[in-house]
Amino acid sequence: MSARDSILAKVRASLGTAGEPAARMEAVSARLTSHAPGIIPARGQIDAPKRVKLFAEMAEKANATVQRVRSGASVPKAVSSYLRSHNLPAAIRLGLDPRLTAMGWQEQKALTVKTGPSDGFDEAGVSHAFGGIAETGTLMLTSGPDNPTTINFLPDHHIVVINEADIAGDIEALWSALRARGMDMPRTVNFITGPSRSGDIEQTLLLGAHGPRALHIIIVGGAAGP
């Protein structure tokens, strides 16, 4: 007997599942297709403007910085000034996300824009989020040529652009949104809440463990900003 069959046989024997196999299979397939949401905390179940505000507050609580701009066209300028204010070289790494590439980076004359995955030498990377979770101030990013996963982890500064309309109350809403687009599960889905950290030395919280030392979120929407 293969190890697979042997393990499954042991599980079945321990569970005593000899009877009613049909009912068990039905229970499992119902569960796998129903996507029942369970308990959703009330915290994120609020109207859109409040949701965006809560998202920003929670992200800041997790040590991210948050900025709001009126439109995508304002993003390159915001990124340039972020780099300047942190004394960083005027260079970014970017995926091929059309929402990012269409923003008019060429107007930032001094800015070097490299596209593709990060090679580990980028000081700052820019990604576009699939969505956000107000309940916890979390970003959701999906892998692929649009937003290579390496940009989320290798640069010291990770700048993430998110559309105000993509900020949901809870993580379940984002799973539904992913399914609604008819997308297969991407190779990697990253939920990111603040910059990298460790408490492994004497339980002292330190930012910038192996991933980005800083996470800057730019919320794009009509509500506020330049």
Partner: protein, 477 residues
């Protein structure tokens, strides 16, 4: 790793007199508990979510065979490989095979308790493959040749001076006069050293917090980002996970995530929660070219259907040990194997045998804090009691314990005799206690009085006082 659980008592005695360890353990007592409390107070639905999480796992365990099959099918559809391992040795052989198949010389590792359970690092080293632990705590203890003393804070038994000494001993390529007095300097140095390791590694090995049956996805929950760099930069990603990590749907995982981080570190969400499905796709510019999952049983299937099944709900948050007075006193290494604290006291006997780990479920005051904080509502004290029963049934306790328990049973089954014995005992001990009302030595109770005084009884038993009370009431009526 060498199992020292049979020497728990000696281990504990050593731990209690280890000044550096006692200083470090102070961080557990103060840090984790307050942070968890704050996070939970801010979420009114927390207890309902615990019920929900418990129900999800109970349902999954009752249908585990079917969910394992569903999960496997999805991994294969996504282009991944699934390997089944009945024992630790099987898992080691499978992982070694994969590493050899890809000609691996260096392997980076995300933090994983399951690879501790199967002694993976020793096995890789013997085969000439260099394992590099990338979680800061794991990296530190790997330099020291130690094992984790806590399931989420592996180096919690160390102070920063010890870490500094290890870094100076090992990182000899760096200037001798560099300043490492602050934890931030130590972190910065580890970050620079390990950055190179991620790019050099041929294979990245991680554990999994969850395996999602709906999508064939493995999930890791981390704060440092090392697990992600471990799994996206090398050519091959190997996930090692035990069979009970299966969870039906993305929604089910999302429920449990809400109780996991809060119970572990007091965060609403850990910094990185990463869902990985198969190898890199045709259009992907990064990610591993191959994705292997090693599903390990190693004794779990035998826990199903027994009084220990509930233990398989455990999500390894560490809340039980963070709140355990015994763990606070002796730390994790005293438990003598991979899993310390209350969850270890229940799981270890199941995995290595109660004959070796019998002391662990005995090292509990049954104060119940572990169960009260467990996000999965695992009845830990009850299961420790089950182990004590099994230990007794199998005649594993020392002769004096068995004799004592038999004497106790003899009295307990004869109420009149018991009351007489208790009354005379209480009277005599009260007299011996004198004005101090304390006893510094009692025959047959040296195990207690060697370390502390025994408070002397008042002189009359509860039953006697109760009878008096009844008589007084009757007289006043």
């Amino acid at each position: 790793m060498q199992i020292t659980s049979p020497n728990f008592k000696e281990n504990a005695r050593e731990a209690l007199s280890d000044a550096a360890l006692q200083k470090a353990l102070g961080n557990v007592r103060t840090g984790f508990i307050d942070k968890r409390r704050k996070a939970i107070d801010a979420l009114p639905e927390f207890d309902d979510l615990r019920d929900s999480a418990r129900d999800i796992k109970n349902h999954t365990l009752a249908h585990l065979d079917l969910y394992l099959e569903a999960y496997e099918k999805k991994v294969l559809e996504a282009g991944g490989h699934v390997h089944w391992a009945e024992t630790a040795a099987d898992a080691r052989a499978i992982i070694l095979d994969i590493c050899r198949q890809y000609g691996a010389r260096t392997v980076t590792k995300g933090k994983s308790m399951i690879t501790e359970e199967i002694d993976l690092n020793e096995c890789l080293e013997e085969a000439g493959i260099k394992p590099v632990e990338t979680d800061l705590g794991e990296y530190i203890i790997q330099l020291r040749g130690e094992h984790p003393s806590h399931i989420i804070a592996p180096a919690v038994h160390l102070n920063k001076e010890q870490v500094e000494a290890d870094f100076r001993r090992v990182h000899t390529h760096l200037p001798v006069n560099r300043d490492l007095s602050e934890p931030s300097a130590l972190l910065g140095e580890a970050r620079r050293v390990l950055r190179a390791a991620y790019f050099d590694a041929d294979v990245g090995i991680t554990g999994a917090n969850f395996l999602v049956a709906e999508t064939g996805t493995s999930v890791i929950v981390t704060n440092e980002g090392n697990g992600d760099l471990t799994q996206i930069l090398p050519k091959v990603h190997i996930v090692v996970a035990s069979i009970e990590k299966i969870t039906p749907t993305l929604e089910d995982v999302s429920q449990i995530l809400r109780v996991l981080a809060r119970s572990a570190t007091g965060q609403d969400m850990s910094v990185y929660t990463t869902f990985s499905t198969g190898p890199r796709r045709a259009e992907d510019p990064d990610g591993p070219e191959a994705y292997h999952v090693v599903l390990l049983d190693n004794g779990r299937s035998s826990m199903l259907g027994t009084e220990f099944q509930d233990m398989l709900r455990c999500i390894r948050c560490g809340a039980c040990m963070n709140h355990c007075p015994v763990y606070h006193a002796v730390g994790g290494h005293a438990y003598g194997w991979v899993y310390p604290g209350p969850m270890g006291a229940v799981l270890t006997p199941a995995l290595i045998g109660v004959d070796k780990a019998g002391h662990l479920p005995n090292a509990s005051t049954f104060c119940g804090r572990c169960e009260s904080v467990c996000p999965m509502r695992i009845p830990l004290p009850k299961m420790m009691r089950h182990w004590r029963e099994r230990e007794f049934q199998r005649g594993l306790n020392p002769a004096t314990t068995r004799y004592g328990l038999r004497m106790w049973a003899l009295l307990a089954k004869r109420p009149r005799l018991y009351r007489m014995a208790a009354a005379s005992g209480a009277a005599v001990l009260s007299m011996l206690g004198g004005r101090k009302r304390r006893l510094s030595s009692v025959p047959l109770a040296g195990g207690w009085t060697r370390w502390r005084d025994l408070p002397a009884p008042q002189g009359r038993t509860f039953m006697q006082q109760w009878a008096d009370r009844g008589r007084n009431k009757a007289a006043h009526r």
